[in-house]
Symmetry: D2
Subunit: 310 residues, 4 copies
Amino acid sequence: MKISNDARGVYAIAPTPFHDDGAVDEKSLDRLTDFYLESGVTGITVLGQLGEAPKLEHSEALAVASRVISRAGVPVVVGVSAPGFAAMRALSDAVMDAGAAGVMIAPPASLRTDDQIIGYYRNAAKAIGPDVPFVIQDYPLTFSVVMAPKVIRAIVAENPGCVMLKHEDWPGLEKISALRGFEADGSMRRLSILCGNGGLFLDFETERGADGAMTGYCFPDMLVELVELAARGERNAAHDLFDAHLPLLRYEQQPGVGLAVRKYVFMRRGILASEAQRAPAGSLSAAARGEVDLLLSRLAAKDPRARMDG
Amino acid sequence: MKISNDARGVYAIAPTPFHDDGAVDEKSLDRLTDFYLESGVTGITVLGQLGEAPKLEHSEALAVASRVISRAGVPVVVGVSAPGFAAMRALSDAVMDAGAAGVMIAPPASLRTDDQIIGYYRNAAKAIGPDVPFVIQDYPLTFSVVMAPKVIRAIVAENPGCVMLKHEDWPGLEKISALRGFEADGSMRRLSILCGNGGLFLDFETERGADGAMTGYCFPDMLVELVELAARGERNAAHDLFDAHLPLLRYEQQPGVGLAVRKYVFMRRGILASEAQRAPAGSLSAAARGEVDLLLSRLAAKDPRARMDG
Amino acid sequence: MKISNDARGVYAIAPTPFHDDGAVDEKSLDRLTDFYLESGVTGITVLGQLGEAPKLEHSEALAVASRVISRAGVPVVVGVSAPGFAAMRALSDAVMDAGAAGVMIAPPASLRTDDQIIGYYRNAAKAIGPDVPFVIQDYPLTFSVVMAPKVIRAIVAENPGCVMLKHEDWPGLEKISALRGFEADGSMRRLSILCGNGGLFLDFETERGADGAMTGYCFPDMLVELVELAARGERNAAHDLFDAHLPLLRYEQQPGVGLAVRKYVFMRRGILASEAQRAPAGSLSAAARGEVDLLLSRLAAKDPRARMDG
Amino acid sequence: MKISNDARGVYAIAPTPFHDDGAVDEKSLDRLTDFYLESGVTGITVLGQLGEAPKLEHSEALAVASRVISRAGVPVVVGVSAPGFAAMRALSDAVMDAGAAGVMIAPPASLRTDDQIIGYYRNAAKAIGPDVPFVIQDYPLTFSVVMAPKVIRAIVAENPGCVMLKHEDWPGLEKISALRGFEADGSMRRLSILCGNGGLFLDFETERGADGAMTGYCFPDMLVELVELAARGERNAAHDLFDAHLPLLRYEQQPGVGLAVRKYVFMRRGILASEAQRAPAGSLSAAARGEVDLLLSRLAAKDPRARMDG
């Protein structure tokens, strides 16, 4: 079960649950996995930036990935970004052996020119090997690397393993149109495009040709429904649903605060036992919790999934 | 008529209208000024980043500022950010002579440490002179300068002319609370805080203690109403209004695209004769125009101000 | 008298002399011009970063450029980098009318992808017009823009006016070899390459194929001699001369300190009346002055030009 | 044997030797260790940036550190910089158990304000524990974090374990004077200051009060001699020695090229069996090797240590 370039739907970006003392919380991880499955996701992505991957030791990272893989029964993509290719290959080999569906690779911040970026992915693809499908993570706001559409096309052309783009450029709508245009004019083979950036433009991204979402918004069930509505061409219903969630979604998309909001909501929903993050960690003030609570309560009036009972 | 630290309400950030050939369009500028006044703004800010200030020559910049000042009858703040203090002083002197209510100063991207930032504003304040009230523009996403709350406090303490903060840090809610906390504990005199960042968090910023908005969202009348609702404590009505506009507001807040959206909407509303920008310029694809049209039409169902007739 | 792609030798980057009160010091500017001519330079570049160009008003900038042009009798290149093309064109038109030999354009820091850089120079070339020869300033350390050799080739191919590269990438030796390789394989027409970056690698840059230097080191006469020795193939003599100056040259190449060192040495040499810079300005501590004095005195033992009499 | 705040002399920054196939080369590592000892270094630093630390897996990193520690008989500092504190603590615990003399911590690039930097070192110190002496690595060019002298003072004040500064700010001479000034006025306890940045200003850094060098220049024996000459006040001899090496030292200090030069020279000196780096790796062109050879041969005329026999 590997990801391919016709992947569609929603891949949930999973946070890594911790106990208050910083140990990985396996029971919460299981509940989270089950929750994603019940939400109807197509797949799950672990060990991304939001998964606090850089704060885990290699053995912990492998244990988290393996646990989700063995429980999920859906494709699991694993983030393997690393400062060196030795560590990238080691983690990639281990998680693919454990049953991962593919790996995700973000570019290091030092890359600037088109050829530097293309060369990096060439070397990364060589490091993980030709049989491992991989996802390009294109997130300039966080990684400071700007990939022109033609750079993505070149990476796709060179590397058969490149099957998916985690698209989170901002602004990013024209990039989706440009990539789909490359496919239409025959200059690029099909690429699965799943959108991140917190889902902040998912309403239009699906209309521009994205195949779905790969993001961690705390209501993955909404993302699933939105992608389905868009696929069926129910434009107004899709926008109505999106607009109802936008106030919270926008709040969750604040840099450095988003993960704290997400863990807090998952805790309130009974999925995580603790909202703890490993240091260095963001946190929510009392005022911020109140704001999230207000947003949830206002959302509940429009979408019953947001009702927090008890 | 100068700005002071008890300023409240909405300062509209005015774009600079151009003819298709790149010349400043004075008639559109007058219509725009009138439109802001009809929208109930407290003041107007010209020659900010959104006003394409760096693309104007000194004489053009002065002409634009003077024209708005003489027509507006409300306080006009003028952006005077410049790479050197000589040019800053020259423009500041000229616009204050022309009747400006104060000036706005953004930090150069090279500043990093607390003392570098404090020192820069000390020198800038010295350059413009003690009688000119000024606004700190705190916009890390654009300027790459991060100001801790205590840095802002130090700038306020050193410079009597510092009366206002254009707050557009992201995330930024805790910063407002921190600054209001400084006032409450007596460690900082009162500062007018008007929020920018496209208004993306104005719903909560007003609740955290902001005095209003200084931003260029294409419905300044909505901003005025929102700030008034918040001031009267009508929390639900404020959030309802904000949420109705959020889909468009979020679309307008895309980096590099926002000004194009804004000028397009002002053109559709009959205020600007052209959506032209001076090079280097962003622009809207046909798909993007369609998206803005959809957002306007969906908004019109909730807010009649968004109806584009004929 | 315009610059062309076969320019060779040394273009001195001129600082702008100020009186202690910040006014432009025309007499010192004249002495400086004469000094450069006596040093044997091929040309002079004014209003670069080191010339404190961003701190001058438009009229001052034009006056400085015109004064040097009318006195020099050698080609004068004028920096016209500006945040917008309107200001760039205005300054370019004015200095070309005044007799400049060409203009120099640095890229804005926001450019990242290859096509963004190529597109910027396309628009800049259009703004200044087809008859104005221009110099690309390639200085990533200061401008944060990284140009691959093939990007420079594309700019040269598109713009007949592009005749010269101010090369100051670091590391940069392989870039010179790559560009000369493009010429050798017929994929790029000849480009004059003059090296900046304080001259820190001029010993090898000339051997890699550079045509000379465009930098502001305080001993332009040494640069002239070095370029001539290299052109004549007197490798050991060239390295001996370079190595003698390297301790001071390296000291002068410190970011933010260099201009202060340069003005101090020019003041000690009797060329500038004052070492004043306009704010924001770097300055030299007493310890730093002592260090420069030591370097000069040690240099004087090897090169009599460094003797400071009196 | 732990480092303390009165450490003086030279700590050699050790590269990690690899075989051509990328495996760690233990025999070369032993030869390198022996070479450092014969050169008279006070200590050795392993797993810094130049040691390709981010390209090693945890077990490899620990093995390299342990091997050097057990062989060296002088204090060994180990770089433990990591994106999360869990990995930092794990590596710190392991190498201190293996006999390391202390650890070195570089700041993550996301830090901007004074308090963010101070807070980071507070948390790092807590993670590694109060008994582990640590070194601040202050290298803005590489890490994009700018530490004002008073920020370093605050870190020293808060953390008893902070005993040493690897100083490699550029320009950096005034920072040394400022820190020694803090000690003189009683506002900061003594801090050992060892200079990096390739040694490019070591001639004056020692005169400003630095205790020595912590850098990887390929002639550590020269660094040892220079620091001793400076300590004895033999200023002219120190500068003569420094100036003789400056052409090569400057060449080695090119970003991204330096390690390749260093490994090449160590290979030519018979210490390393291979100049291989792990990907992503810099490399030397034939022209660059020729340039290094020329610099070595010119140096050999002044310093017999540079003679490459055979």
